[in-house]
Symmetry: C2
DNA sequence: TTCGCGATTGACTCATCAGTCAATTCGAGC
DNA sequence: GCTCGAATTGACTGATGAGTCAATCGCGAA
């Protein structure tokens, strides 16, 4: 296959993936048909199966593409010489900005994978756990440094931190919380403030 | 229908509901067939449709039964003269104890309804929101009292609080967090400590 | 211009299940 | 022991939708 053809194939594959995001966000993974994805992409039914082995693989691909970027960002941050609080702020920022940039994709990832732990969540549990582990690592080192008090296990703190973020995104997705530029910026700070206020050694025993 | 018959009917209905909890917890709502529920209950297929209009209604019933108890508990607590922190602790306790008492039911409620917002979550969004609103009310009054600082909107604080709890339960459900009597008791305290540390006026400016 | 191969098409197959319903059993009241 | 209505049964229907595949298209190489 020529380089030109490879590029065309990659582009067509992307067209299908992008269409799938819109369809999954609108109808939900289980409620939509493969033909809906094909229609949305302006492509024949069978072509979806030329580029993907199954309907599941489409969702898997969307999730892994984005989640791996996030893991990379966290690892990168982890290596830098930043205050623990700064690191958590950067992680919250990345996730909130991901939502700001492509709310439909984040809706799909959260609703269909991260929070749908029976079907896809189970499949990707290890990948999801990787994120918790990285965050737990940040907390653990912060505790050793004395920046965080150690009344909470790092793993618990990681779950709490991630849980707050996911709940806030869910709030936006289901319109339980108001959204907008201001709210996005505020949320980054509030997530960190809410969590760290309870973790910071400084405010430990007031 | 005689009183005796009514009682028998209610009991049979319960047998089906209890069987459904086990099946939903094991296989997931979408993955299981109605015949699985009937088999688990030791009852003919058609009888499920004698007691429930649809497969959905079985799940709706399970969710509403439990969620309404929780709303009642929160309202009851809300009326009492307790410190805000005590109120939040009591709510966390109730939810954790619900899990301790019937982990399968809580798994079903969280995985299939609360966190499955596309299908059932959408249907029950208002009921779920009621819980957020009650918690937000507690926070709001605490802020007016001066017990909590008001850097965070009550609604945001409520989402954060509930998000941490749900993430912890999810951790137990998917075995990302260790569970056991000690962990359950600890979790109650840690959820409140983690959240209130960032809300408490006392530890506001350390 | 023709050949070959991958891209593309969409009608079709086939398994799966939710929900129906006619038939049967059961039990309370007379 | 008879009657009647409710409880119970499970075979059946009908819709749905994932995945297949044989046919066609179109592009690049010779």
């Amino acid at each position: 296959m020529s380089a030109r053809n490879e590029k065309l194939a990659a582009e067509k594959r992307r067209v299908i993936l992008d269409a799938a995001v819109r369809v999954f966000a609108r109808q939900g993974f289980n409620q939509c048909r493969v033909s809906d994805i094909a229609d949305e992409a302006g492509v024949a039914y069978g072509l979806v199966y030329h580029y993907f082995r199954s309907k599941d693989e489409v969702l898997d691909t969307l999730f892994l593409e984005r989640w791996n970027v996030m893991l990379e960002v966290i690892r990168e941050l982890d290596g830098q010489d930043l205050a623990p609080r700064e690191k958590l702020y950067a992680i919250a920022s990345f996730i909130v900005d991901s939502y700001r940039h492509d709310p439909e994709l984040m809706k799909v990832i959260i609703v269909e994978v991260t929070r749908a732990a029976n079907s896809f969540g189970q499949t990707h549990l290890d990948k999801i756990r990787e994120a918790y582990d990285l965050i737990a690592g940040i907390v653990e080192r912060a505790q050793l440094d004395g920046a965080f008090k150690d009344t909470v296990t790092p793993r618990f703190a990681a779950m709490a931190f991630y849980g707050v973020i996911e709940q806030v995104l869910s709030g936006w997705i289901f319109e339980t919380l108001p959204q907008g530029e201001d709210e996005f910026e505020q949320a980054k700070a509030l997530v960190v403030e809410t969590i760290c206020g309870g973790l910071d050694a400084v405010s430990a025993t007031a």
